[in-house]
């Protein structure tokens, strides 16, 4: 499996359309980033196998994927948004609001299809709200979404207070607790399908090219005939929708809704995106990078968990990993430039 991954990533890049990169060294750097991440991922996998006798077990690894699948679903859309030079910090709060809306629909006696639809539509509406404020009123997205971060979760707290929605229909458990076949969970399948869709959209379509262009130079993009506001609006809608999808999965997995659901998840999503090699200032990054970053974060949390390493140490480790993976290619470039 690891063999296939190492060869396919650079190949895909070599065959891909070059015009969305300005210079060849730029692409080379990007290539090394993903390979470096992959090396890190494989290294962590091997270390974990040695560190704990329980690591190499299909069911255990399957359980471990739940550590990142929901976050990664949002991270795909967030990657596009960050590449386009914007950010959405309200994603975890959108989950809370979508989950609360789903709970209300469930309490009203509707079945699973209506509950799922509610989650997705709520996500879309929240995304639209963010998008309108950013693209129509021209407000900075970081400020807007810090605001809506409090707003969306605040509504959940008003609705639920110290209460909780429980008693979701048993067939609703399919999304977060179900298995497609053997150890492959439904969430993992959703994750994989979304990874392919976002990979194609970003790396193989005009829309994806426009996202890079906007991130590199919004004014230039506008004068090249790209409808910048429209593209950004779509990206906010997508991020909202993905938060809705994650809300469906997480609510299904927890079997209940509380307003504190998914608290703090927005930073983990952003961490995943940045670890995946997406430039936080916009303009560059790739979906394969984010996919590998998701696995790296999942493997680290699960591996350290198996060793009963305290969570505080895990956070430190993720932080160091983030700084390390970002700093290494730059240090390497500097070192090579001097030599």
């Amino acid at each position: 499996m690891s063999l296939a991954e190492t060869t396919s990533a650079p190949e895909a890049r070599a065959r891909g359309p070059v015009p969305d990169r300005l210079r060849a060294p730029w692409e080379a750097k990007l290539k090394s980033w993903e390979s470096l991440l992959l090396v890190v991922a494989i290294g962590i996998f091997i270390l974990n196998s040695f560190a704990s006798p329980y690591f190499l077990n299909a069911w255990n690894l399957s359980d471990a994927t739940f550590n990142f699948t929901e976050k990664a679903m949002i991270a795909f859309a967030m990657a596009l948004l960050i590449i386009a030079g914007e950010i959405d910090l309200s994603v975890a709060s959108i989950i809370a609001l979508a989950s609360t809306a789903m709970g209300l629909v469930m309490e009203a006696g509707f079945g699973t299809p209506a509950i799922v639809a509610t989650g997705l539509v709520t996500g879309l509406l929240c995304g639209a709200f963010n998008g309108v404020l950013v693209t129509r009123l021209g407000l900075p997205s970081i400020v807007v979404t810090i605001g809506t971060m409090s707003l969306f979760r605040g509504i959940s707290y008003i609705v639920l207070g110290d209460g909780a929605f429980r008693g979701y229909p048993s067939d609703f458990a399919f999304f977060g607790q179900g298995y497609a076949f053997w150890v492959i969970s439904v969430e993992l399948v959703i994750f994989a399908v979304l990874a392919v869709i976002y990979g194609v959209v970003l790396h193989r379509t005009n829309f994806g090219r426009a996202v890079y262009a906007i991130g590199n130079n919004p004014t230039g993009a506008l004068f090249s005939g790209i409808r910048v506001a429209r593209v950004k609006m779509i990206l906010f809608l997508l991020t909202g929708l993905m938060s809705g999808v994650a809300a469906v999965c997480l609510t299904s997995r927890l079997g209940s809704t509380r307003p504190s659901i998914a608290s703090g998840m927005e930073l983990e999503v952003v961490t995943m995106v940045v670890l995946g090699g997406v430039n936080i200032l916009g303009g560059s990054g790739s979906i394969p990078g984010v996919v590998i970053a998701a696995f790296v974060m999942g493997l680290v949390t699960f591996g350290l968990g198996l060793l009963n390493v305290p969570g505080i140490v895990m956070s430190i480790f993720i932080g160091l990993l983030l700084i390390g993976v970002i700093a290494l290619p730059r240090l390497w470039a500097k070192f090579r430039g001097r030599a």
Binding site: L56, A64, N67, G264, T301, G305, G311, I312
Partner: protein, 329 residues
């Protein structure tokens, strides 16, 4: 790549041999709301004490960084993967942990909750440090004892979703008619964060200038409230009471900001939870209503119809005994 394959194969082989070898001792995982909280560190001490008394027990003390249900699920998944014998959890969320804990029970792991409970179908038994009714009564009694003429009191709680705090406040409200003249003017939430609790306590004193007491049934809130009272120069006017840790409250007792407060002994709690998990995992007793479980030096507890048991009455700390306990926890 060949090397990687070789290493993986070696690891699989190592795993096969390492598995049964470490299965000698019974492994009991003590899962707490979050690491780095004095109360739970003390409970872990009690668990270790029980383990050394029992002899064949290994304690795994673990928990997430933040008090989130999602974090606890990740920790519990890792414990299920290690095939521990028992999980004793103080839950961040009554309901959200249920699916994961059900999975643990399906895989043959004994699951109990302690301190902060899990919904009935997510555990086999639950150990309360005390009974909720006794705690609810105790926190208002502590305030009322200092106010023979009656007066205005306010509650500073943790988060709006904290299972424990909400039940205690509910029980407190039930027994309020027994304390004539005690008037509860409001409830605020400090989210178990020192700075937010401090601000909320300040807000209470500003909103209710005649406030006589602040009841904080949370170890973070009570310290912050006592500090806010000292900083506002209202020592002697506003009495801070509730549930707190002796080590953190010693200063407040000394300054007079708090006359007295209560807490069960977390060491006893960790000890009892471990004993309970041990006997259930061992099969000494069946977790069923009416079952009697020996919990070592703490005596015997009986499970009620919901599978819960109460350990003991909360213990009152004041200037007469604070010095003896502040170094313990």
């Amino acid at each position: 790549m060949k090397l990687a394959k070789l290493l993986t194969t070696a690891a699989v082989a190592a795993g096969l041999f390492a598995g049964p070898a470490s299965a000698e001792d019974m492994r009991i995982a003590l899962v707490v709301k979050a690491l780095g909280i004095g109360f739970f560190e003390a409970a872990a001490k009690g668990a270790e004490e029980a383990a050394s008394e029992l002899g064949d027990v290994e304690i795994i003390y673990t928990g997430p960084t933040d008090t989130t249900a999602e974090g606890q699920i990740e920790v519990i998944n890792a414990l299920i993967a290690q095939q521990v014998d028992a999980i004793a959890v103080s839950a961040n969320d009554t309901d959200a942990l249920v699916p994961t804990l059900k999975k643990a029970m399906q895989r043959g792991i004994t699951v109990i909750s302690w301190d902060s409970g899990v919904a009935e179908d997510g555990r086999q038994a639950h150990l309360n440090p005390s009974s909720n009714a006794l705690i609810g009564n105790m926190i208002v009694k502590l305030a009322a004892d200092e106010l023979p003429e009656g007066g205005d009191v306010a509650v500073l709680s943790a988060t709006t979703t904290s299972t424990n705090q909400n039940i205690w406040i509910e029980e407190m409200t039930k027994v309020l008619p027994n304390y004539p003249g005690i008037n509860v003017v409001g409830t605020v939430y400090g989210d178990d964060l020192a700075d937010k609790s401090y601000r909320e306590a300040q807000g209470l004193m500003q909103s209710y200038p005649d406030l006589d007491a602040i009841i904080a049934p949370t170890s973070v809130g009570i310290v912050a409230a006592a500090q806010a009272v000292v900083d506002a120069g209202k020592v002697g006017e506003v009495n801070v009471t509730g549930l707190g840790l002796p080590s953190e409250m010693a200063g407040a007792i000394e300054s007079g900001a708090s006359k007295s407060f209560a807490i069960w002994n977390p060491i006893d709690l960790g000890y009892s939870a471990t004993m309970m998990a041990y006997h259930l995992a061992k099969g000494d007793v069946e977790a069923a209503p009416g079952a009697e479980i020996e919990i070592g030096r703490m005596g015997t507890i009986t499970l009620d119809e919901t599978g819960s048991a109460a350990m003991a009455d909360p213990f009152v700390y004041d200037e007469s005994n604070i010095d003896d306990f502040k170094s313990i926890f």
